[in-house]
Symmetry: C2
Subunit: 143 residues, 2 copies
Amino acid sequence: MPEANQFFRRLKQHGYKITPQRQAILQCLLDNPGHHSAEEIHQIIKTHYPHISLDTVYRNLHTMVALGLVIALNFADGRNRYELATEEHHHHLICLSCGQSEQIDFCPLSYMADTISRERNFTICKHSFEIYGYCHNCRQNQK
Amino acid sequence: MPEANQFFRRLKQHGYKITPQRQAILQCLLDNPGHHSAEEIHQIIKTHYPHISLDTVYRNLHTMVALGLVIALNFADGRNRYELATEEHHHHLICLSCGQSEQIDFCPLSYMADTISRERNFTICKHSFEIYGYCHNCRQNQK
DNA sequence: GTAGGTGCAAACAATTTGCACAGTA
DNA sequence: TACTGTGCAAATTGTTTGCACCTAC
């Protein structure tokens, strides 16, 4: 696992042990680009590592977010999604019918961040920009 | 309640009855501009209408969102916020420490909506754009 | 060997639902 | 009167936590 090593190194640097569970979670995120819920990640890992518990997935995603290895997204369905922090920064078009999402490369914050920090005296940590609606396929099927 | 009548009319048009609970919820949103969680709305109403149940608040907010009278916002803390659909469209700066929010009048979608609908073949229903960080006060206090 | 990590089960918080009764139209 | 709406309690969903055992280092 070539790419994975940089993540293991960063875990170690912060005093975290490299357990098989942590390896599996990172490998899963590397192998499956895009955002996934904790439940999805758990299901994917279980196919080749049946004994991992959902709690462990949550716990480790949480620490990986805290270390900046992983980014957490909150979508409108009340379920968090996670993706590797290395992925290009982007936002999403999310279909309310099939749940599929496409990327939007444009980020409004890139134009606003400086102005907001300065004029509003606000330290920006993270942001969300997601667009919900119906994709081409689902619109067709509903007619 | 002058302003409230237009909402009652729209409920009636769709075959919904005007119950005191529904009146109280709408009045609460009219009297308290901005977004509030279901729990907050329930607490506010209980001060002068002690017998309303939280379930009823949820149920009615849900139908009001479906009718377009109310808008639901999902913030990062996993609790939905609701505001009247008549309020000026805006987004938020949300402090991760004190939870207070300020409005941002700028909406990135106003510049992108047409392009996305056309180029991505996507029917836009709603969107989120919220910026999280630390407000001036909280940054001061943490030092 | 030892501290941190895991799995299990139980706890939690936000929200939804089934059901019998109550209240609007 | 008829049927929608309500309150209560219980169920559900996503996530967190306490605890005893396990394992990476």
